[in-house]
Subunit: 299 residues, 2 copies
């Protein structure tokens, strides 16, 4: 997992580009091309997603260390969607990018062990397969440690990482996560668990392989969570389109400006829709948006 | 969703068979056949899972109303695993069984809307596709209502259902779900939310399309949750292999013996391994185990 931290340092850019394609996000000419070729089918959409993602990846791979494909957007299109997810991951890795699979899985122990194949790989009668190829994944803590342990073990075995949902970026995250127990909220209690779980899997740069998802939309809470979890690497969604700004995030980082990777999805991938000068050139617009975001995150 | 309730009544059997295959669960001759045909590959495992599941389905379809494939077990084998998941679902539906997809998805609103395709289907340029074909799915409440609403809308639109994780069957479920807030636990608070969410989507038989997962391993809590959620249909995992018995579950049902469907996975699908008389005849053993479970659940 230190690979990601080193890339962020080398590029001076704690940004991850969220690859969460929708049909509406795809430029018209690309839609037309694939519908022509494959008809109105999941195949057509999968092919659009792959080509679109490759354009984004090509345009940012030298300035952004990681991509975060959100598997839901691909699952929506069935097996062909999953194929697009996997081909996107392979391409991003070929271009040297770290891949954070935003899969938010979580289940009881034996089932969690099966999901851990996402980062651990799959053994079949003595043969090893890396069928998903993510470097990091996101996971859900609602089932407690026995659903988390298989992921911790996989992280240790493969030197990969997970981000546990602590405080998500959405408005109704408060409904359960902000419930107050004596003098603490649930998300603070989860944060303490994540900190404790993380001690089982430390990297060499002061951060654990067991990271946390902390939404950019919660400025004070983020800074507070940094104090609770000084050795926990944060995946920060909710920047840009969901309302968070660079200034809001200063407290999420440690005193050296490390410890976070901030996600932007539509703000980068659909930037071409916001400025006519780019026409349908999504990659060019994405690069400009990624550079602006990088500048916004320098402290 | 009333289809499932009616099937349970007609068969006098509130059982769902969990189709959670592992390589170890597959009879040796079937393993040998598929490894011979496809080599040591995900293809071979996917083909084993399909054939094994079909044998189980054939042997119980006339006495058990539903199956619950756990997607993690299939995801472990990548795209070929997902294909086996889908082919299993199609076959179970052909045989008249209801399918509960145990996918435990959960995310922020726009992403949850993409996951809702599992029950709502997918629209591509005006064409409708049902790419996943589940009748019910399980979902995770940690993100609050904006991550749940898209599923409620899909349930209303397609008359399908979801089970929200309330109190899971695993030992460490207590770690977060049993945290006490004033005079209530988190899972009780989630139960109250599920009850409230459920009023948006009532079926015609007194139960809501927004159900709850309540583990069989928690006898008192289950009976208590029935009181909190009188109109919530329960999916009950943890029977058999995880320790729950029929007697433990009486309080989970309503006074007419309705309101639950109880899952058994290995206890049925791997029953052939427990009794030499069945040899490798997994289907025959599964039927006997399903009949024993049915008898255990008559009150």
């Amino acid at each position: 997992m230190d690979t990601l931290l080193k890339k962020i340092d080398a590029m001076k850019n704690p940004t991850v580009v969220g690859l969460d394609p929708t049909l509406e996000m795809i430029p018209e000419p690309l839609q037309a091309e694939m519908f022509e070729k494959y008809g109105k089918t999941p195949d057509a959409v999968g092919s659009m997603f792959i080509k679109f993602n490759k354009e984004i990846i090509d345009s940012v791979a030298d300035i952004v260390p990681a991509v975060k494909p959100q598997i839901a957007m691909y699952e929506k299109y069935g097996v062909e969607g999953i194929r697009a997810y996997l081909e996107t991951i392979e391409y991003a890795r070929e271009k040297g990018m770290t891949v954070i699979g935003d899969i938010k899985r979580g289940d009881i122990s034996s089932t969690a062990a099966a999901y851990a194949a996402h980062i651990e790989g799959t053994e079949i009668a003595g043969e090893e397969f890396d069928l998903w190829k993510e470097d990091w994944i996101t996971i859900n803590p609602y089932l407690g440690i026995d659903g988390i342990q298989p992921f911790i073990d996989a992280c240790n075995k493969k030197d990969k990482g997970v981000f546990v949902l602590v405080k998500t970026s959405n408005p109704s995250s408060s409904q359960i996560q902000d419930i107050v127990v004596k003098d603490k909220t649930i998300y603070e209690m989860v944060a303490e668990l994540v900190k404790e779980w993380g001690t089982q899997s430390m990297g060499t740069m002061g951060y654990s392989r067991i990271g946390a998802v902390v939404g950019a939309t919660h400025k004070e809470q983020g800074a507070h969570l940094r104090k609770i979890m000084p050795h926990t690497f944060f995946l920060v969604p909710g920047y840009g389109a969901q309302g968070g700004t660079g200034a809001d995030l200063k407290g999420f980082f440690d005193k050296d400006g490390r410890g976070c990777i901030v996600n932007s999805s539509r703000g980068i991938t659909a930037a071409y829709k916001k400025n006519n000068k780019y026409g349908e050139r999504a990659g060019e617009a994405a690069r400009a948006a990624a550079l602006a975001m990088k500048a916004d995150l320098q402290y």
